[in-house]
Assembly symmetry: C2
Homo-oligomer: 205 residues x 2
Amino acid sequence: MGMSEFRRPQQQRSQKTYDALLDAAAELLEEVGIERISSNLVCERAGMTPPAFYRYFDDKYALLAALVDRLMDGQEALFARWLEGTRGVDIDTLARMTAELASAAAGLRNDQPGAIWILRALRAVPRLSELRLQAHDVTTQAITDLYVERLPHVPRERIMRRVRLGVEIGYGVDEMTRETNLSRAEVFEDLVHLFVSMAHYPDYA
Amino acid sequence: MGMSEFRRPQQQRSQKTYDALLDAAAELLEEVGIERISSNLVCERAGMTPPAFYRYFDDKYALLAALVDRLMDGQEALFARWLEGTRGVDIDTLARMTAELASAAAGLRNDQPGAIWILRALRAVPRLSELRLQAHDVTTQAITDLYVERLPHVPRERIMRRVRLGVEIGYGVDEMTRETNLSRAEVFEDLVHLFVSMAHYPDYA
DNA sequence: TGTACATCAGTGAACGCGCGTTCACTGATGTAC
DNA sequence: TGTACATCAGTGAACGCGCGTTCACTGATGTAC
């Protein structure tokens, strides 16, 4: 995504450099924030010189986009595994599992240094915001399929709108538990109830 | 907040300059985003020279903080008016009104140029994120009072946690309708249902 | 298996530019008598 | 009501610094015969 084929690392040494740059960027995003991170700073932290940076990235934004890609790859893998487990479950179980997915995704982000800061940067930088949108849309469509299957008489568009809201809430909850001292487990329980009740909107009956 | 008393504009001319700087900053935040805005750029747009800037603000962050203050003042006024209307209403009506508050607040932000970008910047800039937290906390406490009044047998802490979630959702919905083409009115209706159902959690009975 | 050459990966050093900020100053407004 | 002075508000011009980026190069790895 955004990276030309010939730029992809080809040798082992090269892959190491590429990863080191991404890791350094993630660290720095967490330490200094989006408005203070710079290409030279990333190079220094990665133990590289600036031209090494430009071998792999067109510019600063390409680096951030690559960081997003790496983060999203992890989430997609998680999502694929989760999807397996939803086969044949009833709608209430699906709702509960959706909350669990949100929680697992939050856990994943917690394990990846700088992950939240990448997402926060996505919100604030116009040139990157479309990446966030795309990711949310993909997730929304996939989850919508699951609910449509179980609510065949309800217009897909109506379900989709609410699933999209659920996705937004899932990310919001993650942010919230990070910046407050609310109990993660209790907020998660609230989320379960919320999603279950969303699966029983009056106009679904 | 963060601005020493002696720095406050005292003459009419001064007030004009101060406002011009804030307006310019809001515009630019919308146009170029948080990582490209600069003090010199703000001055130029406001038709001022840099030292005028430093008469009123310690630095770039003080300017952004002032922008937040101005935004929050508007929201507080809206909130105060809304609070008047909640006197004596039952809990379902309160839930519905809470959704309406979220919608009205979104409308207010829509009318203020750069408002969403101020909030997005708050998320992404470590030095400013506490301002966002404070604002959310104040709102949360005030709304919690209203629900506690109507649910005297439920621990305040439990209610507060869910109101906090509701506040997060309110802002999330606003963001979502801006960046998708989902119908604002329909999402708002979903929000009403959501808040009403949140007012009837199983452990409230 | 060794050598010659092509390609890949990274370095050293610097570029012009705009950033945040400050100095010494002039002009505008308010105040005292 | 006019003048003298104090304070307030903003200017002109520049500072050092780190930014994003690039040039010409060297060393490392892979490939052909």
